[in-house]
Subunit: 187 residues, 2 copies
């Protein structure tokens, strides 16, 4: 099983990178450290990712894919999509941070672009439920409040007593925007 060929080195390296980023950010880990942790030589990751930037590009692509999958089920309920947005960010903090820090990777990468457009489509589907006076402005407002809450939560800027899970903490905040603005919204 553990011979010359690792078998699934690409996934192993990516998982290790995600874990390292989750634990201590995008700056502290090294390719060689990930290689050591995977039990391969220091140059093995280069074959799969090219360079350090390539690892982060792969993480971003995977992130946008997971993101689209997480949002799609709520295409007909923008509030719940907002909650799912926050939930994704807190469950996949490393992916989320990389995805929205384009200086870390190559946004023009084909896989990234494809996955990103899937995520954009999911967001657009959610926004299409808006029927107010300025759907486009409302959509950006909805995107902003979900993204802002998620970012602030991840950065630890929010007060500690908001709630145990970001789900329950985010919903009332998002409702401030959505309340009365979605025709068949809650209450």
């Amino acid at each position: 099983m553990a011979g010359y060929h690792h078998g699934d080195l690409r996934r192993t390296i990516m998982s290790a990178a995600v874990q390292a980023i989750t634990e201590s950010g995008t700056a502290t880990w090294s390719l060689r450290e990930l290689a050591r942790r995977a039990g391969v030589s220091h140059a093995a990751p280069a074959h799969h990712f090219g360079d350090r930037r390539g690892v982060l590009t792969a993480v971003a692509a995977e992130g946008f894919t997971l993101f689209a999958d997480a949002l799609s089920p709520f295409h007909d309920d923008l509030l719940e999509m907002g909650v799912a947005y926050v939930r994704f960010a807190t469950e996949h903090p490393a992916h989320f941070e990389v995805m929205f820090t384009p200086t870390l990777y190559d946004p023009a990468d084909p896989e990234v672009a494809a996955a990103r457009s899937r995520a954009d489509a999911a967001l657009a589907a959610g926004a299409s439920t808006l029927t107010g006076g300025s759907p486009r402005t409302d959509a950006i407002a909805a995107w902003s409040i979900a993204h802002g809450f998620a970012s602030l939560w991840l950065s630890g800027a929010l007060p500690d007593d908001l709630g145990a899970t970001p789900d329950t903490a985010a919903r009332p905040v998002l409702e401030v925007l959505f309340r009365g603005r979605i025709p068949d919204g809650p209450s």
Copy 2:
């Protein structure tokens, strides 16, 4: 003028770091490169900042100070404070990115903590204008939408045709939240 002592090396290094981060993110530059650009030896910055993390800690502290100064004038108008929030982020993208990425620096640093509490006080002053049913939830919603719009703008995720300046683009988006929620708000 240019002798053994540089004169203002600390500020020179910080400015160079901010410029480098603005141009290409927090990962690409090196301490030695900043030292070369400042015309000093490779170990000179260490005296002022300790290590690489120390530079980012100083940037974060300066950022929170500038942030508090940028928000304070609008303590009686939460909408305009939101616009100022977005304007600060776009005018000081490097500071903003570092400030809200606490894995990059030392959040417990005394100067950072002091500057941050000044910024928190400015935000709290703006939020104190809220008189609705859940001022605290509303305050976090307002913070989230401003922070989210600023983050999305900086990451390049927003559509390109929103407006030339983030000021004019942000105001209508923020108004979606504030409209009808601030007693003596606009219109």
